[in-house]
């Protein structure tokens, strides 16, 4: 295996680590390989001499876990303040409830929780903020049943009234999403197994909601575009929803309740 392929495989195997940590590991091994080549080894031999990828991954992973355990990482709530004029907020979370609220403060800020089981990678680029949850692999397979205290672990996205965000793209699993008192043109919400509560929202370019086992509760929504709700086992309740375009409601096993709704076309799919 050549150096580049080794590094690629290393990055892939360690993709559960934070970007910072992956970068450190890659720099370390890259340097070692270069030093061995300088010492007279061929690139292939230098990579071979490092040992098996599985061993390397195990050593790195064990160290990451021990470090957190030893430093008795109880977990803490943190705050991230957006630096730029953000237009898109994209959240890729797991097992965490998410609330999106207005704030009287001047800045867009995100409150979140980190502990020894997981942390977040937050990347801000020009007008986009990407927030991704990073889980430590040992706990990935438990599907996050460990986090029961949603108040302590929830993520809160705070948006000032004068902010000009264009799109919210929010995804989580096994937890609720609350989106209240906001004016954001495009909203997309996804949660596999949790209630979605949308209240007092203006989403002129449309709102889409996806879930498997979650129910949707929409109260007082105004849109100029499509309102789309898609769930398998959840109920859909709409109250005071107005749009210039279509409303599409799809649920397999859930009830649909509509009260005071205005749209071009209202489609209710009930499969099964």
């Amino acid at each position: 295996m050549g150096k580049e392929k080794f590094i690629d495989e290393l990055k892939y195997k360690l993709n559960y680590l934070s970007e910072e940590e992956i970068s450190k590991v890659v720099t370390y091994y890259s340097e070692i390989i270069d030093d061995k080549i300088e010492d007279g080894m061929t690139e292939e031999d230098a990579v071979l001499s490092l040992g098996s990828m599985n061993e390397i991954e195990e050593i790195i992973r064990t160290e990451a876990e021990n470090y957190k355990k030893e430093n008795n990482f109880q977990g803490e709530r943190k705050r991230y303040i957006c630096k730029n004029d953000v237009k898109l907020i994209h959240v890729d979370d797991k097992n965490t409830s998410i609330e999106i609220n207005p704030t009287s403060e001047d800045i867009i800020y995100i409150e979140y929780y980190e502990d020894k089981y997981s942390e977040y990678d937050i990347l801000e680029n020009e007008d986009t903020v990407l927030i991704k949850k990073v889980l430590y692999p040992r706990f990935m397979f438990f599907g996050g049943f460990l986090l029961n205290n949603f108040t302590k672990t929830k993520m809160v996205i705070n948006i000032p009234l004068k902010a000009t965000i264009e799109k919210l793209d929010i995804s989580t699993t096994n937890a609720y999403i609350n989106c209240i008192d906001l004016n954001v043109p495009r909203i997309e919400l996804e949660s596999s197994n949790g209630k979605m509560n949308v209240k007092n929202i203006e989403a002129l370019k449309g709102i889409k909601m996806y879930s498997t086992n979650g129910s949707f509760n929409i109260t007082n929504l105004k849109s100029g575009n499509m309102v789309k709700c898609n769930t398998t086992n959840g109920a859909i309740v709409l109250q005071d929803v107005r749009t210039d375009d279509d409303i599409e409601l799809k649920t397999t096993n859930g009830a649909v309740k509509i009260n005071s709704v205005a749209s071009k076309m209202l489609t209710k799919f009930r499969v099964g």
Binding site: D35, I59, T62, Y67
Partner: protein, 102 residues
């Protein structure tokens, strides 16, 4: 060898090598290998831990068009070596006692 024991010894081996002069990953492995089994992979977490505990510091030097990370022992690191030396004087005493009875 017992894992915890080996870890402790390796940490002190690294500090000892750096005590003589600043060095870089590959060189550290080469210097320690004749005395105790160590690989680049086992060295990584040791360097990380030593840095976290502020027993060594890191800086970069340009070498043949690339950056190479050098490690430098701190005053705290030197203190740790000193206490290793004192502690193991005691260990040596007990060792001699045990071996004398075998």
């Amino acid at each position: 060898m017992d894992i915890q024991l080996k870890k402790g010894l390796l940490e002190n081996c690294v500090l000892a090598v750096l005590n003589k002069e600043d060095s870089y990953g590959y060189q550290v492995v080469k210097d320690i290998s004749p005395h105790i089994k160590i690989s680049e992979s086992t060295l990584y977490p040791i360097l990380k831990r030593l840095e976290g505990n502020e027993l060594l510091s890191v800086y970069s030097v340009e070498h043949n068009g690339r950056l190479r990370k050098y490690y430098k022992i701190t005053d705290e690191g030197k203190k740790k070596l000193k206490s290793f030396q004192e502690e193991w004087m005691e260990v040596m005493g007990v060792y001699n006692f045990i071996v004398s009875k075998i």
